[in-house]
């Protein structure tokens, strides 16, 4: 009798467990399918409009067929390069300061500042760079856009490089110091080379993130439908081009928005894929 009650209770508990497991599976399947839905839509809708002209021509005004997004691709590449030139030394320098000289109170403040900067809404970065540079110094320009992207990249680089520098065993630093090596040589020629692939990963990740930023560019680089590599003038960028095409009322531009989105997602995927490649090679080597 007692055993029967126990068994029935156990059955109830098992059923409840199975139901909840099923719910977890359904929720997971739903989450996974969202990604496939989005990527699938972008691919299917974008791939049809891709051709050689799309990568080499400037945008045509509405009504004319053809045309491409070459200025936007060039603008994105140029601004990413300039942003990288600004952000990489600052980001890596900050990370070195925190990990190698990091016992001071100031280092704590720096760490906190990085955390806050990393989570700043990107539109606010745009407002800030507008007020700092665009208003009085540069006007709407590629340079201002690059600075906005640099502000976004610096905390990402600093955070990831800090994580990676922490992995370097202290014994390595101490043995180099014990040989009488000055600290800067220890950092630059002993510590950094051991984690170089990891640092590259961090830089690539920050580039991937900056490549897709739209809101700050809206207030700084402004966009341009002509080919322009002059950093002092408004510059086109892929996210801006996508936004302008998408909110336009024309079907042809909507198709181009899909195609540009596909190209942008591909660029981001390649940058992040390069990350995976570096990480794998690095792990392989350290094994």
């Amino acid at each position: 009798m007692r055993k029967e009650v126990e068994e029935r209770r156990f059955l109830g508990r098992s059923v409840r467990g199975a139901v909840n497991a099923a719910i977890a599976i359904v929720l997971t399947a739903l989450s996974v399918s969202i990604l496939f839905a989005i990527v699938g839509h972008i691919f299917v809708n974008g791939v049809g409009s891709l051709n050689a002209d799309f990568f080499t021509q400037i945008p045509k005004p509405y009504g004319e067929t053809g045309g491409g997004i070459a200025p936007a691709i060039a603008g994105t590449i140029v601004m990413l390069l300039v942003a990288g030139i600004i952000a990489v030394p600052v980001g890596i320098g900050t990370a070195i300061y925190i990990t190698e000289f990091g016992q001071s109170r100031f280092a704590e403040i720096v760490r906190f500042a990085i955390e806050l900067l990393a989570e700043l809404p990107s539109i606010v970065v745009g407002v800030f760079v507008w007020a700092l540079l665009v208003r009085n110094l540069t006007g709407y320009s590629g340079m201002a856009g690059a600075c906005a992207l640099a502000v976004i990249m610096i905390p990402i680089i600093a955070r990831s490089v800090e994580e990676i520098l922490k992995l370097v065993p202290d014994g390595l630093r101490e043995s180099a110091l014990a040989l009488g090596t000055p600290k800067w040589k220890v950092v630059l020629f002993v510590v950094i080379p051991t984690v170089l692939p990891g640092i590259l990963t961090g830089v690539m990740l920050s580039l991937a993130r900056a490549a897709g930023e739209t809101a700050p560019l809206l207030l700084t680089a402004l966009g341009n439908s002509f080919f322009n590599l002059d950093l002092r003038r408004p510059m086109a960028a892929m996210p801006l081009q996508i936004f302008n095409y998408a909110v336009s009322p024309y079907d042809d531009w909507h198709r181009k928005a899909w195609a540009s989105t596909l190209v942008l997602v591909a660029i981001v995927a390649i940058l992040s894929g390069a990350v995976k490649f570096f990480v794998r090679r690095w792990k392989h080597e350290s094994n």
Binding site: R13, S31, I38, V90, P121, V127, W130, A158, W184, G212
Partner: protein, 329 residues
């Protein structure tokens, strides 16, 4: 002895200046980062003083947004509709994303074998890499028609019939409205909540789970009585970080939220604005200094609110990590 001493002294002397230069360089980089944050806040405060002084708390509480002076309406800026839009869309996002993220986190870290769980988590977390404007394009061309033609009429046919709740879904289904904005945000913050929740669930001490199992508990009982209570604070923290990101998200929301009404209505099917989308839409239109100042104050509000949630999240998540450190020792 003396020779040795002099060598070592020379070595330190030689090392000293170069080390000082290096320290100064990396110190300068760090100072720049701190200066950036301080300059950020100072500049935003400075540029919004005009608006703060003129409208005071009315900026946060008022619901009239009149940038152009007319005979009947003086210039006044009240951001309440934007704040309302931000709160509503972020809450919708949180309500939709948290169960999805938590369910997925539980599945991949507790139920699934690791050959399945890891790739599944990886695939979901890829969502974080998709640029916000791509979500906007997808939302505008795929999600908005679905919402307008299927989801919103369905909601009106079901919830709309219930007396008080019906007001939530009143009005014509536009597709471009607060609900759609919330759905897009939910997708965007899903990977954030998922990856943090996974980290936190992984930090639940093994002993605690094993103890529960040894008492004869089923897998679900272990989860609901040992794992989730331990991780609760951290999961709330994960959701808060998601919330902070939802509040600051701009482009995707701007493209699907409608940007047309500054009316506060109980229906989530009204087109609206969030703070971020208002900045993106109106920034280039700000032709008078006070209009500009009001927009910058919007940015300042956004910055403060997002930072508060961000810090709160860090405190909650950090507490779990610290407890884990204690348990190990």
């Amino acid at each position: 002895m003396t020779v040795k001493n002099s060598i070592s002294r020379r070595a330190t002397k030689a090392a000293d200046p170069s080390d000082r230069v290096f320290t100064a360089l990396v110190g300068a980089a760090s100072t720049l980062v701190v200066a950036l944050l301080v300059g950020f806040i100072l500049l935003l405060v400075l540029d919004s003083t005009d608006s703060i002084r003129r409208f005071g708390l009315g900026f946060l509480a008022g619901s009239k947004w009149n940038p152009v002076k007319t005979e009947i309406n003086p210039i006044v800026f009240g951001a309440l509709p934007y704040i309302f839009g931000t709160i509503v869309t972020s809450l919708i996002a949180l309500i939709l994303a948290t169960p999805l993220a938590l369910g997925s986190a539980i599945f991949v870290s507790e139920y699934a074998p690791s050959w399945l769980g890891k790739p599944v988590a990886f695939v979901i977390e890829l969502l974080v890499a998709i640029p916000s404007v791509a979500y906007g394009v997808w939302g505008l061309f795929v999600l908005v028609p679905i919402m307008r033609n299927d989801v919103e009429p369905f909601l009106q046919a079901t919830i709309g019939k219930i007396p008080i709740l019906g007001a939530l879904v009143a009005g014509p289904p536009f597709g471009q409205d607060l609900l759609t904005g919330g759905v897009v945000l939910a997708i965007m913050i899903l990977p954030t909540i998922l990856s943090l929740s996974r980290e936190i669930i992984a930090q639940v001490p093994r002993l605690q789970k094993e103890g529960m199992l040894a008492l004869g508990a089923t897998k679900w009982e272990v989860l609901s009585k040992a794992v989730l209570p331990y991780a609760r604070g951290g999961i709330v923290g994960a959701s808060m970080l998601g919330l902070a990101r939802a509040i600051g998200e701009t482009m995707a929301v701007t493209m699907v939220i409608g940007n047309s009404s500054t009316r506060i209505s109980p229906s989530i099917l009204t087109p609206g604005y969030t703070i971020a989308s208002a900045i993106a839409n109106q920034f280039t239109e700000a032709d008078s200094p006070v209009y500009f100042s009001a927009i910058v104050e919007l940015g300042l509000v956004l910055l403060l609110v997002a930072s508060v949630f961000n810090i709160g999240s860090r405190v909650l998540v950090g507490r779990i990590a610290k407890r884990e450190g204690g348990a190990d020792a």
